[in-house]
Symmetry: C2
Amino acid sequence: MVSVNNADGASPQASLRQVRYELLTLGDELLLGLTANGHLTFIGAQLGRRGALLQRNVTLTDEADAIAEQFRESWRRSDVVITTGGLGPTCDDRTRDVIAEVLGQKLVFDATIRQAIEERFSRLGRKMTDNNLKQAYVFERGEVLANANGTAPGLWVEQDGRVLVMLPGPPNELQPMFTEQVVPRLAARGLLLEREAYVQLRTAGIGESALETKLQPIFDRVGPGLSVAFCAHQGAVDCRVSSPSGALSHAQLEAVAAECAQLLGDDFVCYGHDSLARVCAELLREQEKRLAVVETATGGLLAHAFTEVCGACKFFAGGVVCCSNDAKMQLLDVPEDILLQHGAVSDEAAVAMAAGASETLAADYALAVTGFAGAASAGANSGNPVGTMFVALYSPAGVWSKKLSYPGPRSTVKVRAVNAALDWLRRELRRAQRGDAVTSRRIGTMQ
Amino acid sequence: MVSVNNADGASPQASLRQVRYELLTLGDELLLGLTANGHLTFIGAQLGRRGALLQRNVTLTDEADAIAEQFRESWRRSDVVITTGGLGPTCDDRTRDVIAEVLGQKLVFDATIRQAIEERFSRLGRKMTDNNLKQAYVFERGEVLANANGTAPGLWVEQDGRVLVMLPGPPNELQPMFTEQVVPRLAARGLLLEREAYVQLRTAGIGESALETKLQPIFDRVGPGLSVAFCAHQGAVDCRVSSPSGALSHAQLEAVAAECAQLLGDDFVCYGHDSLARVCAELLREQEKRLAVVETATGGLLAHAFTEVCGACKFFAGGVVCCSNDAKMQLLDVPEDILLQHGAVSDEAAVAMAAGASETLAADYALAVTGFAGAASAGANSGNPVGTMFVALYSPAGVWSKKLSYPGPRSTVKVRAVNAALDWLRRELRRAQRGDAVTSRRIGTMQ
């Protein structure tokens, strides 16, 4: 087994790059496109945060021969193999048996698991059928990972200098099992870092190349021990600084990140992985302010971004989703003449919607989004083609609107408009927090 | 190459099961969990609809040796290999070169593609950089799949009795290229069916085993030529009838499906893949009725389900997302004493919210959802634990509410509550369309 706790002086992270991880995701429902492969996204991200790059993910059918062949191959070339799915009680779930055979291990009945399964059924007031007992069979030389949210336990095997981790398929069972039981075990064996491998700066409102150009002088000064990676996603760009050679300590990486954050000013959102909505929520809570939103083309996505944040009721006054002029007038007292004169997709309408939402819902801040998101948008024209979005921000300091334009499909236009609205609110809340003067205050387009 | 246009009398679908498809999805961003693998979901579903089961999906890094090794292996054991990503202009994008080498083909410069790329840049008013010309290199023995939405064309190669399809990574480029160019080519060569392989009945409000039990007598009577598959997803169950042996014609399958639909009554939603929201939208349009929604715990998801439907403005009067009592009173005139006396999560509150939404937004129908969706729901208690949702339906015929309870994580509870609300509206619209009498009409809990 590759170990990073070696004595040759190499850095933990450098050695970790040599640890070969493969993920086998089992299930016809993935191959038939009935379910998205969220396990890849989750496990890949978790490993990446701790310094390991997943080498390969293979999704395959529940067919025994295919599983055996693929597992044999993955086991041969990997240090750690993780499987998901195929541990359940139905006859499709044969992964355990197939893999035990490849490893030359027997499966043995575990009475403790039987008891846990029986207790779970009795707690839920349901009758346990016999096929559930299949889940009580475990590797003769292996460990059991308890499942707090379901019947099938996870399995941990160390053999041939390698690690095998078998996880149940349901995400609400797999995810806590992975972070609470698997990550610490892998870290204890030197197969993952004990802490995050990089310091991540989340930015918004600045493009990837502009960001790189701006930060390059800092990176140049720190020198070749530093590694930098950028990742752009729909209006936000993450910058990760790390030191694969181990030349820089975590404290030194944090100092580099802090210098970058300072230079970026309001383009810097946060360290780590918080969403723009969560950062806004935190600022609203600190300032004890409340927010309202109103949206047409984004159809509920903006409201949903905020309601996904834990404890949203504390700061979220409410949201309105409307497309008709009637709804805008009825719910938000948007004056009809504004809609008739300027159209519902205009700076003026966006401003009136934001102001109306703030007023009606007694909110300190309000965001409005209106526009033409997709190919079938009635009303789009050469002046305001598809992809045109107006975003308005109402705040105690004033109300503004801006016109934005995004290429791409409807879903992209919607997400980018939501992110632009969130980012604008975040900047205004930061400004208010600092007590800086407002530099522009007017109703109308602000580019 | 496996062909289904054979003369031995086997049915097309039976032979298709022998066609081995593999999908290689390239990109570190997938393995790092930065992007979900939507290509698997999309391509797997498209192949499944035309009778082919994707055998395997391998996601791997952009590293040349790994790509070469994996492609060689997949090519050896497959009839069709599809790759996604790695065709772009950056130096990471080396897939084309690696695969050309494995196939022993030269890459040749295609002046037509160069021209298309140049024209695209000039149309967007941007300057073309030289690295874009890399995308103009194609296989010497192969075909080009034009890209209407981007610069990198797709590539089609037939060699060694196999087919290779290389597709660009962005979904809005890949998806139309696949449905418009790849599917017809594969079908023409007998590697996919010319039409859908099955007839799908979408149902709601009935569990998978109850559905199976109800339909079994029909299946038994039709006999062994019929194959039936069920797929459950959060409140809806799809039933697919097919005839892999070819014993039943498509018309016969349609007749079986029609008999099932008739027996299922209002549990039958539609044939095919339409969403519950789309089915509701169609019924609303036919009856020239308008809908309003109001939601707390689902936080915008219900509104978003409707606004995703094309032309939603025609039937969607508007939506309100709120958690505070104030918002309910301000926007929807929900009487304060109802909220104080019964609580905001109650039958009475749900009914008042639905009635208020219908009134305020001048809508014929209204849906309200309120409840405790997730672990952090303040106010959840033993009478109404986390997972409790109240759904109310306002219609011209009356207003009802029902209490629902879902296990599982927050995201599941939200989706199931949205689906329950949509399904209820659908049933009421069907009833109104038929002109049937209302069998229960009261304000209060209806289980």
